[in-house]
């Protein structure tokens, strides 16, 4: 793909990222961070391509190791974000209804 075209994508996504995140309440800073962290595991796609495309054994090993690390990042990141978010509750919507 053309480098200039990729650079255009880069620029647009950075602007989009700034726009999307700029108004996040402090309560959500940690989940946002770990959720974004999980997204950075997108490098798994690159890892899959590298692990698969190489004819060289070392490239395959590198790729497979990258797949493993990126999977830790992705799976762990999403699960822990979900776990955190499920703890955030608004007042009086506690399903148990009880306040001890």
């Amino acid at each position: 793909m053309d480098a200039v075209f990729l650079a255009l994508i880069l620029m647009l996504s950075i602007f989009l990222g700034f726009e999307l995140i700029s108004k996040v309440p402090a309560t959500l800073h940690t989940p946002l961070m770990s959720g974004a962290n999980a997204i950075s595991g997108i490098t798994i796609v690159g890892a899959l391509i590298s692990a698969g495309s190489g004819t060289d054994l070392l490239a395959t090993i590198l790729g497979a190791a990258a797949v493993m690390f990126a999977t830790i990042n992705v799976v762990g990141g999403y699960m822990v974000t979900n776990r955190m978010l499920s703890m955030f509750k608004k007042k009086d919507v506690d399903p148990s209804g009880g306040k001890s």
């Binding site: 940690t30 950075s40 495309s53 990141g77």
Partner: protein
């Protein structure tokens, strides 16, 4: 599936990432946002696997299984108080993955010089994210001393490493080869640079580092995207990079320091605060109870000490008792309280404190003089009036929660040692301050027990 169709699925994934990230920004939709973005990830991975060139399956399946297992188990097992360490480790694993993707991309034979530069960038950013995160993890979990390490020639050494990195990168690009010694030099230097970058940063500055490393892990993925000509990596990676920079900026503002100042000078290394002398007024749990019982409005101000003492549950219990007693209860949270952005919010959420009871610094300060009792639990710098009054203080200028303006302040403190950065805190000597010495959890439990009798 042809390459065009795979790319089409990448577009779908990118759109879902964008929606997911947007929804993560509001408490009401955040859970859905996180799910959307995980679906996007799944789509991207599955579409990639449909590329028929991708072989050998056994390697890939094995790697995915091991990675999923490790990730899932740690995500379920981790204590909420250890969340900063865990985010650091996940950042690190993303970084090393990007380094490896860049490295493996060298095996493509038709790389241009531009591609080689982006490969080196992904190795550099990925490598420093990895080693920096591991060091941050060590500092956060107190495996190693969490204080800032500053030595005289630090800037010189860092500059030398940077120069060496540039030289080795240029040499590599002039004669790219998979077994080039310059490649190994760049990898090593990148790892060393990550360590050097986190070394001078002390425990109280950790929120900045964690969010910065988060940004790097995105940028590393983005660079890897350039290295292998893949646009979903660029889109997702750069959005994460931007999100991390914004958080980093919020953290820096909350400390009234520039990013450069946080990164290059150890905390408290520059100035010596004016020593404050005075008399502390200790209080026991019985008297604390009597004051709290009469209070109409109570604000809890938590800090890292609450995480250490695991006191969040008993804080919530006391908060509920006070509410039953007719008091208005809020939790005032400083943006850099704790060791990562939003650390306190997560702990209180774990303890079932509804998030609409959590108030930010800007909201509580204008009405803090109407608060009857402010209870400071394991926080020090973020409530230190020296940040307002003492120009010699290393934290001078940092916005704080003005608890000293409240009618009465309780400070829960283990003993009279000064706080993390060694700043003496005039708050402890205030006329309206009462010190409740001891373990925060036990002290609060004693007050709760008084309420129940």
């Amino acid at each position: 599936m042809s390459l065009e169709i795979i790319n089409l699925w990448y577009v779908v994934a990118a759109a879902l990432f964008i929606f997911g990230l947007k929804q993560l920004g509001s408490p009401a939709t955040a859970v859905r946002g996180n799910k959307l973005s995980s679906i996007a990830m799944l789509i991207a991975v599955v579409a990639t696997l449909f590329n028929k060139d991708i072989l050998p399956w056994e390697w890939i399946i094995g790697a995915i299984l091991v990675g999923s297992l490790v990730g899932a188990v740690t995500a379920q097992k981790v204590e909420m108080t250890s969340m900063p360490e865990m985010v650091a480790l996940f950042n690190g694993s993303g970084g090393i993955a990007s380094l490896m993707v860049g490295w493996a991309a060298l095996y493509n034979l038709d790389n241009t010089t531009f591609t080689h530069i982006t490969i080196l960038l992904s190795i550099l950013i990925g490598g420093m994210t990895f080693s920096g995160s591991i060091l941050a993890w060590g500092k956060l979990s107190e495996v190693i001393n969490s204080a800032a390490v500053v030595f005289g020639a630090q800037r010189f050494v860092n500059a030398m490493i940077l120069v060496a990195l540039v030289v080795c990168s240029v040499m590599f690009c002039l004669e790219p080869a998979i077994d080039s010694p310059y490649l190994y030099a760049v990898i090593t230097l990148a790892l060393v640079f990550g360590v050097m970058a986190v070394l001078p940063i002390g425990g109280a500055d950790m929120p900045v580092v964690i969010s910065l490393l988060n940004s790097y892990s995105g940028l590393a993925a983005c660079a890897a995207g350039f290295a292998i000509n893949n646009n979903i990596l660029i889109v997702a990676g750069s959005m994460v990079g931007a999100a991390g920079i914004i958080l980093t900026n919020i953290m820096c503002k909350a400390m009234n320091r520039s990013l450069g100042h946080v990164l290059f000078s150890g905390f408290g290394a520059v100035k010596e605060a004016t020593k404050v002398e005075g008399e502390v007024k200790p209080i026991n749990s019985e008297d604390a109870f009597l004051i709290l019982e009469a209070a109409q409005s109570v604000t809890f101000v938590p800090g890292y000490g609450m995480a250490v003492a695991q006191a969040q549950h008993v804080v919530r219990e006391l908060g509920e008792l006070l509410e039953k007693n007719g008091a208005e209860v809020t939790y005032a949270i400083h943006p850099v309280a704790g060791r990562m952005p939003g650390h306190m919010n997560v702990l209180l959420a774990e303890a079932n404190v509804p998030y609409d009871q959590l108030v930010e610094m800007e909201d509580i300060n204008p009405r803090i003089d109407k608060v009857d009792v402010a209870v400071v639990i394991g926080a020090n710098d973020v409530v230190n009036p020296a940040a307002r009054n003492d120009e010699n203080s290393p934290i001078y200028g940092m916005p704080i929660i003005n608890v000293d303006y409240a009618q009465t302040v309780f400070v829960l403190k283990r003993s009279m040692a000064s706080g993390f950065s060694g700043v003496d805190n005039p708050l402890f000597f205030g006329d309206n301050t009462r010190m409740l010495f001891g373990d925060a959890k036990q002290s609060l439990a004693a007050v709760v027990a008084e309420f129940k009798t």
